[in-house]
């Protein structure tokens, strides 16, 4: 931290200034001139929170995607299908047992298993053949999408989250002061806050797993040099299966979490695949911290676009992607890895 400040004094000041302005924007009561420029404070704070929570959801999906790519160089274009499959399975379980958490757990396990099966039965057979693997994942995603449409039809499904997660919480943030002198506090859906904290928890767990455990060390070693890892006596195939399982399981987990925040319907698979692709392109392929930064950026961009210029909001997301590709093609946190 200190070294960073000493080396990049200018940037440290800019970042600090930015943080102060942001905090002021969140906690201060806005003066009239600011409201005239930006609109009401309620809109701004809610949009900020929405961006953070949506970013959390995107991170849950994209972290698995980037993990799989980092280790296996396999662009798994069936990742969106894993998301949707997890959502449907979670819904069925939650609907029959009445327990939302059980649905969440089983979605993670079942989708993780299906990911492991995919790795052992399909991708292992075309090891090192990136293009073929990618094409196969496209085929799988199309087949799975049609199967899911046949089983669960095109109807929109929505989870019933536990009661204590439903409804809105009052935040200690004043929106405006009424003429009577009462402060109006900002309300925000509890569930969406839970999504954000779940994402932070998953991110922290992933970081600990990758940095503090032996298996995590093997995975990081595999990302850097696969051949050396197997030469030093590690069963690389087992590591691959494990990583594929975790990556797919996270997508299934995100399916239930996201399906509860929004809804489940056909077409969601492609939407989240696209979101994950943009997130990892911005954040850097193969980097978990990159996925976190990319997810936050994209989530915020999408929400601010939607709130302030809804018609052209989508453009902002792609604009970020274009700028990153032009200035830093390997992504914000991406290392310019070369093929071993």
């Amino acid at each position: 931290m200190r070294r960073f400040i000493e080396q990049h004094t200018f940037w440290s000041i800019v970042i600090l200034l930015f943080a102060v302005i942001l905090l002021w924007l969140i906690f201060a009561v806005w003066p009239q001139w600011l409201i005239e420029i930006f609109g009401r404070k309620k809109t701004f704070v809610n949009t900020l929170l929405n961006g953070l929570t949506l970013g959390g959801l995107y991170f849950l999906v994209a972290s698995g995607f980037t993990l799989i790519f980092g280790l296996m160089r396999n662009v798994n274009l069936a990742h969106g299908s894993m998301y949707l499959l997890g959502a449907y399975i979670g819904y069925e379980v939650a609907d029959t047992t009445g327990s939302w958490f059980l649905g969440l757990a089983i979605a993670f396990v079942v989708v993780a298993l299906s990911g492991m099966l995919m790795q052992t039965l399909v991708f292992r057979r075309m090891e090192g053949d990136d293009i073929r693997q990618t094409l196969v994942t496209i085929a799988i995603s199309i087949i799975v999408a049609d199967l899911m449409l046949a089983i669960w039809t095109g109807t929109t499904y929505q989870f019933t989250p536990p009661d204590w997660l439903f409804g809105a919480a009052q935040l200690p943030v004043v929106s405006t002061i009424r003429s009577s002198g009462d402060a109006v506090y900002i309300k925000y859906p509890i569930y969406r806050l839970a999504v954000f904290f779940a994402a932070v928890a998953v991110g922290a767990a992933l970081w600990l797993f990758l940095n503090r455990t032996k298996i995590g060390m093997m995975i990081r070693a595999g990302v850097n040099d696969r051949d050396m890892l197997s030469a030093s006596g590690v069963n690389v195939q087992l590591v691959f299966v494990l990583v594929f399982g975790i990556g797919a399981g996270l997508a299934g987990f995100a399916g239930v979490v996201g399906g509860t925040a929004l809804s489940i319907s056909p077409g969601e698979d492609v939407r989240y695949l696209l979101a994950s692709l943009i997130v990892v392109i911005v954040g850097g392929l193969g980097s978990v911290p990159g996925a976190a930064i990319g997810a936050l950026l994209i989530g915020l961009a999408e929400q601010f676009g939607l709130a302030y210029f809804p018609t052209y909001g989508v453009v902002v997301t792609f604009l970020i992607m274009v700028i990153v590709l032009a200035v830093r093609p390997q992504g914000l946190m991406g290392s310019s890895w070369s093929r071993q």
Binding site: N50, T155, A168, S263, G267, A307
Partner: protein
């Protein structure tokens, strides 16, 4: 090897024989609906409507068997064109029923002009200009359109509900433009306001409405919402979660069965929301009751009650079949006789008599409704009143109606 060859030649012979037979006494009919994307559930229900009409006629019309070929789109105009071209140019259909969504309808109408020997009947697409401006000679719409569907709602919101200022939230394409126009035109003529900066236009398939909800102004009496399918469900849930408390006024497909009948928690807070459209779930009429009973019997896993889409596709398919009966299934003249028969067709539907105007757009009854909780806990639309014989020009002469201008985000301006 020889055995396989033998089998294959048998199959080939069978296929050859069956296509030979088909040419004589089969009519190929295409059905085009959105079986992908945000409107997939709607597309499924619309095909149920097609099947109901076919079942009613025993899969034949004018002494010919009807062979149904379905095509799928995702609510974007180019996907609709692709599916229609496949049906027309590869499968060789002679009659097409579809598409489902507004902008698809505009695209198919233009495509129809390039295929003069094929007869196109609308599905449920309800953009105004599909028939109002530069209509195609071979495109027929026996279902009504979005502005017609709003008949009576603007007056009701102003006079009965007492709303004076509304915000607008709608998807950003031709059908919601048409609906907003149909609602706001009478509402603003009476003195209501809908400021331009309180109109929110979101893309189809948007999932996360929380920021739009946060941006909705507080100082309005109600919010007019025209979203469909999964979009409407997402909005309603998130609006409830965010603690939204402004009353809603709904577009025709926002509190339709395709939304109210979806899986998940029931959205009790929409009870009391007024809307208007071509159907009303609780209309007490023998024809409608028979239609609902047939739907429930034929599709036990469908919605609790047929949606607007099943209804629109049913009516258009039935019109096609009645037309084919009238010409004895004879399409040897490239369908000219069929189109003449369709233009003159007037028939009784589950929702009253339907006939066409000179631009081949339906004149039919429209229902003003309000959401209530039905006897078995399902949410349904209760009939408040019926406006008889609503035409596309609201009874004005054609030239005069054109002065209102094309529907758009800012028409009417309501300033």
């Amino acid at each position: 090897m020889l055995k396989i060859l033998k089998k294959m030649s048998l199959v080939v012979a069978l296929i050859a024989f069956s296509t030979g037979a088909m040419a004589q006494d089969t009519i190929k009919m295409g059905a085009l609906a959105t079986l992908e994307g945000a409107f997939a559930a709607l597309g499924e229900d619309s095909l149920r409507g097609v099947q109901m009409a076919l079942a009613e006629f025993g899969n034949s019309a004018g002494g010919k068997n009807i062979e149904l070929i379905t095509g799928s789109s995702d609510a974007s105009p180019d996907s609709a064109i692709r599916a229609a071209r496949k049906l027309v140019e590869q499968d060789g259909i002679q009659v097409l029923v579809g598409p489902l969504s507004g902008s698809e309808g505009l695209a198919i109408k233009d495509y129809a002009k390039t295929q003069p020997n094929v007869t196109f009947l609308n599905g449920s697409s309800a953009a105004q200009d599909t028939t109002l401006r530069e209509s195609a000679e071979n495109f027929f719409r026996f279902s009504t359109e979005g502005a017609q569907w709003m008949a009576g709602l603007g007056e009701y919101a102003y006079n009965e509900k007492g709303y004076r200022t509304v915000a607008v939230l709608a998807e950003d394409y031709s059908f919601p433009y048409t609906q907003v126009f149909g609602f706001l035109e009478p509402f603003c003529r009476l003195g209501g306001k809908a400021p331009l900066d309180a109109r929110f236009w979101v893309p189809i398939g948007n999932k996360d409405y929380s920021s739009v909800i946060a941006a909705l102004p507080d100082d309005v009496d109600a919010i007019y919402v025209a979203l469909g399918g999964a979009d409407a469900i997402n909005f309603l849930t998130q609006y409830e979660q965010a603690g939204g408390d402004a009353p809603l006024i709904a577009g025709s497909i926002t509190v339709d069965q395709s939304v109210l009948g979806s899986k998940g928690p029931t959205r009790k807070f929409v009870v009391g929301t007024p809307s208007a459209g071509p159907i009303s779930d609780t209309w007490d009429n023998p024809n409608w009751n028979a239609f609902v009973a047939a739907y429930q019997e034929q599709f036990p896993d469908g919605f609790p009650s047929p949606s607007l889409f099943a209804h629109a596709y049913y009516i258009n398919t039935k019109a096609a079949l009645l037309g084919l009966e009238a010409v004895g299934g004879d399409l040897s003249d490239g369908g000219a006789a069929l189109r003449a028969a369709l233009s003159a067709l007037e028939f009784d539907t589950p929702t009253g008599m339907v006939k066409l105007d000179e631009r081949r757009n339906a004149i039919a009854d429209i229902f003003l409704t309000e959401v209530i909780e039905g006897p078995d806990g399902n949410l349904v639309n209760k009939t408040i009143s019926v406006t008889k014989g609503v035409s596309q020009t609201f009874g004005l002469p054609y030239e005069e109606f054109l002065k209102y201008g094309q529907v758009s985000r800012e028409n009417p301006s309501c300033e």
